[in-house]
Symmetry: C2
Subunit: 213 residues, 2 copies
Amino acid sequence: MSIDKKEHIMEVAVTLFSEKGYEGTSIRDLAHAADVNIAMINYYFGSKEKLFVALLETKARYMREKIDSLQNDPSLSELDKINLIIDGYVNRFLSQPAFHRVLQQELLVTNRELLHQNVIELFTKNTQDVVSIIEKGIRKKLFKKVDPQLLFASIIGTINQVMLSRSMCNILLNKEAGSDPYHDPELKKRITHHIKQMVQDHLLIQPAIQKQK
Amino acid sequence: MSIDKKEHIMEVAVTLFSEKGYEGTSIRDLAHAADVNIAMINYYFGSKEKLFVALLETKARYMREKIDSLQNDPSLSELDKINLIIDGYVNRFLSQPAFHRVLQQELLVTNRELLHQNVIELFTKNTQDVVSIIEKGIRKKLFKKVDPQLLFASIIGTINQVMLSRSMCNILLNKEAGSDPYHDPELKKRITHHIKQMVQDHLLIQPAIQKQK
DNA sequence: AAAAATTAATTAAACGTTTGTTTAATTCAA
DNA sequence: TTGAATTAAACAAACGTTTAATTAATTTTT
């Protein structure tokens, strides 16, 4: 029973943190939304800060494992790997918008050092892996001599930009103000297609050959 | 004397908000950092929230005017305009990292509706203008049939990604952990060049002709 | 030009809430 | 009957804001 309750609290926490921010969410807000006593949060997690760290550790494994499995697959070309990584990130970000907004918030706020450092570490390994795939493609003369780090920033940054805020996303994509763009199946296709096309045009020597589907 | 003091408070506020977030920054923090009495912030601005809105209105005019002046200049090609807009955004974001982190924070947090709505409005007009420039280039057959909205998201998103956090940026660019990447003149060149190159490769029919400088 | 009256700027202290956390008592399950 | 789970109540500290008193600057009147 207690494990389920911990998970329940964490699920409520990620939603509230994403809507109101870490500082903007009180333990009382959390307890009320999760329908548990105020004292239970500290009973289970020790403190509000430790709840947050627990949240990171639980939620952040998936993408790490995804990239690891691609990394040393000899049957895939470097372009295949990049395309699969784009698919992975878009799927991941769109299916967990609340969690990824919380991550972004902690990257932006530098004074909660423990939380900040925890989020930074998540990104570091992923960055290095993707960059080294791009570098390998360049060495094999499959790719042009692009800037691998900044190209990775463009991939992630494009998704993050769309994910910044729902109303922002609706304005960007000319949707009605009230609608929920993140659960629109069209959006996922559209983002994936745009990023892949842009990355291919930028990476490949003869991008004109590649036809838009 | 009072106008200078208001500006002084706002300058301190943008720094503190960017480091600690809006909720994470107390009026007492602000008053102490600006070396004024606690009551002065409410005396000048009315409330903490109104201080924030005042901050937006003062700081956010520049980019608006920049794009407006480009918009109807017949001597510039659509690609010229896009390149100048990229220059403008990179310069602007890198020279005011604190302010733009505050903007991003408010986009991420949706429950402070007044502040959120104010930031959204800033972005809306800029988005529409840049999109219509890209669309014009497509109609003139200068550009391929790209996704104008998402290409704009890629431009802004790339810069935002690099600006998310200093240590994040240092990791991304392989710099030492302590250094200040945003005041490195090399970084501005590198970002500008990457985005322009990527956008050109994506937009132009024969990107191979365009030579990297 | 000096004095008086009025307005603006600044202060320290206090306001009532809300914050994260803890306690001590109670309920529940093993 | 022992230990874990749960509760309501209380804790001190910090929050944004307001007050009432004082000083500084400006305007009006003499």
